[in-house]
Assembly symmetry: C2
Homo-oligomer: 197 residues x 2
């Protein structure tokens, strides 16, 4: 299960069943969290106007990001990648972290307040894996200005945007990450990531 690439940018048009969406959210909220604070806030985006504004925002951010590549070949390679499926994905979900959650009584966050955000990432991963076992794909879009998106969605000031997720049935199934197939970055041997003290 973990092998199958889960960052999906090409989606079929067919809808995700409402019961599946509920199952994904229910599984997401089973994630462990610091102090059991459950700081995740899932915002399902149904407005076509919001979707269009978001897609334009992401395309602008991507154009800015491509300008950072000094090497023209690298820049061309970047620009040739399809980096999101925001316009096509049947479901869009913004995920926020409540930085001042009512639950948890602050346990475990005194020295590492970022644990609230990390707990939210765990919930996203639960959702991702719950989607995968149902044949549903998820793409996590990070080429955006989180504060601009939070403002666009009019959320409380203490909510931080963690992810924008595109959810739907993937147009293709492949175990090799798209960025590897497209020559951007291959998977490296895991023992290279292991150290000891």
């Amino acid at each position: 299960m973990l092998h199958w690439r889960r960052d999906v940018r090409h989606f079929e048009r067919r809808a995700v069943r409402e019961t599946d969406m509920r199952d994904l959210l229910r599984c997401a909220c089973l994630a462990p969290s610091v102090g059991n604070a459950q700081p995740w806030r899932f915002m399902r985006l149904r407005s076509a106007a919001i979707r269009a504004t978001l897609a334009d925002h992401i395309d602008d951010a991507s154009a800015s990001a491509s300008a950072r590549y000094a090497d023209p070949a690298q820049r061309d390679r970047y620009q040739s990648l399809k980096l999101h499926g925001v316009r096509e994905a049947p479901e869009l979900m913004a995920v926020f972290c409540d930085e001042a959650p009512s639950a948890g009584h602050g346990l475990g966050t005194a020295t590492m307040p970022e644990m609230l955000r990390y707990s939210t990432v765990l919930a996203i991963h639960n959702l991702w894996l719950a989607a995968r076992v149902r044949g549903i794909g998820v793409g996590w879009v990070s080429i955006l200005e989180p504060q601009a998106v939070a403002a666009m969605l009019d959320v409380p000031v203490h909510w931080s945007l963690i992810a924008l997720l595109c959810i739907g049935y993937p147009a293709e199934q492949c175990s090799i990450p798209e960025l590897e197939r497209r020559g951007w970055q291959a998977r490296e041997p895991w023992p290279d990531r292991l150290f000891e003290r």
Copy 2:
């Protein structure tokens, strides 16, 4: 699988097999990551001296954190919780994020550099779930000063501490989070975490 509580603080003494440790790390490194940067760095801690220093550091941090609770009953409740198994867990693993990874060519991090840290959290969650299916428990300790621990472990300056993991066979099996059983914080209904726009 997602129901079973995974933040483990009470461990049996028996060792985790070396083949299992390798499997956990291999699964961890299958996580998706921004730009396929694979920014996770797993540091297995084998030194008894480092373990003792870490445990003392965490106990100090926990004492400071308990002083933040103005309500004496809440402070007593905090102090009665067992918050880590650093002294007993058969395996200790520090997990870092390389904030300047050689892989990935910066894709997806221009506006959200924190995606590298979030990718590292996804790898930790893979490890956690891979442990769970083998009957192995994991506790994520966050009551520590990340920079102090990074200094203690003498890592490159661009590595950020994301987690200190205690790994081993749990002394008890229970689906209800320990913090819920001990009256600290119960799980709340997931629909409370769902919003729409």
